[in-house]
Amino acid sequence: MTRLTKIRRSYALALIAMVALVAAACSGTSEDPGAGQVEVAHYYGSDLGQQGILDVNATFEAGEAVVSPIEHEAFKDQILVALAGGEPPDVFSYWAGARTQSVFENGHLQPITQVFDNADVWNNFPQALVDAGIHGGEPHLLPFGFHYVAFFYNPHVMEAAGVTSMPTNSQEFIAAAAQIAASGVKPIALGSMNRWPAQFWFDFLILRTAGPDYRAKLMSGEASYTDPQVVGAMELWKQLVDAGFFVDDANAYTWTDAADQVANGEAAMTLMGTWITGYWNGIGLEPVTDYDFFNFPVLDPAVENAALGPIDGWALSADAANPEGAMLLLEHYADPGNQLTWALEQGALPPNSNADTTQLNPVMAKALVEVGKADSYSFNYDLATPPPVAEVGLDMFQAFMDDPSGYADLLSSAQSDAQAAFAG
């Protein structure tokens, strides 16, 4: 029987090991956030100013911000999963506009009136930015940085091609692009692998030809993708692609690839938001000498000058475990000094008017001036139309970049898909 005892002993040991392991698995898997711990999720990777978040959080003394950085594209799905799960992070970065509206409508946010009152966001932020945070009559999103979309270019390339003054209307733009192409460089970089970088083209072509009011109708489903206004915009876009102005295989690249192409002189310019300056600063480029921007040209002088861009903000989950701490953190995020820190790191414009904007680099300072000069400020496509509809349009832009010739078919199938998405 000794052998059996031995076996029994070894199996008893194994059993104990199993139990220990199961116990190990159970411990430390769930932890209660302490009084001052605030769970924060955000989509700012190293290319989008992650260090700025760390810097701002480091000075938060009322508590501790426990941060989960999520990959920018994955974040879009993941935060919805987390919200639906009822155990979301306390505070999360989010885009103002239709995306915030969608999670607000589904009851996943709680009002942050206390933050707006304590930090006096009401008076310290420009009215348009205050409004961008209001849903259902109450503040639900704290603007943290806003952006301006324009043609960011490489001055060295422009100089080499002999383009001395930047184009302001369509003729000048086409002439400049042709000149750049003649110098052997692709005029326009675009990285539409993740789809959204292409949307700015659609946005501006509509805004500059049909105007912001028509665009608002299209975004809300009152106008159709088969309207002559949209067809006209796509035709313009197609002419630019057909002229060979865009890099080949735009769908193969991310927005940082496109930024790299401009930075290293493979392409002259890219239509992108001001966050590109933060990325370029990060790889050692100098504003004005290494990069600058010009506005999207006027296409129809009768149409107003609309500015375009997203507003990044912070939202407070309805199911937040620590709403008190979260409110304090949001107040910290509303502080002009912190907004400036973030703006400088990411390449954003600070919503708080008290932020010392003299510290912005010349290119960002110019962007701030241009926003002020614009007649209106619109959100880009995926923030202007409800998320399920945005999926349809974003696919269409990518399909268009793959093969612009069939845009009529793309528009009609986009219209039927969009209709279904609006209905569903």
């Binding site: 769970e39 990777g45 190293s46 989960s68 987390a82």
Partner: protein, 300 residues
């Protein structure tokens, strides 16, 4: 499927199929051609693996400048230091082990119990039970996602490691039951009766007589299950979303891609770290792995 398969003992030591070819010259020629083909094939498999290793050892600046596949000389461990110290790497690894170890243990224990009961006790309805459990192999995870999500939410288990432990345990019963039932079927009942006559009860027979015999099959299953669970990406993506501190290593790969967006070297170093445990286990247990896969489906 029982007759022809009995002859297929998976791990016969030596090749018994003689080499083909008619004359000596034909044979050399054929062998040369075979070597060339093998060389191509080796390259096809070594290059991607070497690519990740090399990338993980290059500086990000060098990769940005000369591309991922450039054959440059300077190698450094900086990326490993970086990803170990600035990302949640240690946490990811601990989380993965905390999921994989209990889930491997529970799935194999449960599968063994069911498999043994089906093979030796032959309960009424056993065939139906086996059919239901084995068909678990064919349920796409997407079917389970939403209901499980709702369920774990109501038990307040989201953003913990419990969903992965529970799911992998239960889903693992399918393959473990299949393998273990097949294994115990082969063991003659006389062994069991002899022990019963000696005065042992069924539990003691199972624990002292049968289980020790099953050691190779258990090792095979452990390899299979550990690899499968360690490499799983979907469940953590859904059940621990937007929380870096409960991410397993596979989800960590995605999160680190967010943190080090254009730092390919850093991403590659975490990919290497993430692969070490499964590769190591495979090296140790490779023979068992094959046997596990084969016995699972063959001797039905």
């Amino acid at each position: 499927m029982s007759t022809s398969t009995a002859s297929l003992a998976a791990d016969r030591a030596h090749s018994t199929v003689p080499e083909h070819g008619t004359g000596r010259r034909g044979r050399t020629l054929r062998r040369r051609a075979g070597m060339v083909l093998i060389a191509v094939f080796v390259a096809l498999y070594l290059v991607p693996v070497a690519g990740v290793l090399a990338t993980s050892l290059k500086t990000n600046a060098e990769i940005a400048e000369r591309g991922i596949w450039a054959l440059t000389g300077k190698l450094t461990l900086a990326n490993y230091v970086d990803v170990w110290s600035t990302a949640n790497t240690v946490r990811y690894l601990i989380n993965s082990f905390q999921v994989a170890i209990p889930a491997v243990v529970v799935s194999i224990a449960g599968g063994t119990l069911i498999g043994y009961a089906l093979a030796k006790f032959r309960p009424r309805g056993g065939t139906a039970i086996q059919l239901i459990i084995v068909s678990g192999l064919f349920v796409p995870p997407q079917v389970l996602l939403v209901p499980l999500f709702t369920m774990f939410r109501s038990f307040d288990l989201l953003n913990t490691l419990w969903p992965m432990i529970l799911i992998h345990s239960a889903v693992g019963f399918s393959v473990c039951t299949l393998v273990m039932r097949n294994f115990f079927e082969q063991i003659p009942d006389s062994l069991r009766y002899a022990a019963l006559i000696d005065g042992a009860n069924e539990g003691e027979v199972f624990w002292r007589v049968m289980l020790p015999l099953a050691r190779p099959a258990l090792a095979a299953l452990a390899t299979l299950q550990f690899t499968f669970i360690w490499n799983d990406f979907l469940y953590p993506l859904v059940f621990t979303s937007a929380r870096d501190d409960v991410a397993t290593i596979m989800l960590g790969l995605l999160n680190v891609k967010g943190q080090f967006t254009v730092a390919y070297g850093t991403q590659a170093s975490l990919a290497v770290i993430a692969s070490i445990p499964t590769v190591a286990i495979f090296f140790v247990f490779q023979k068992h792995f094959v046997r596990g896969l084969l016995s699972g489906a063959l001797k039905e």
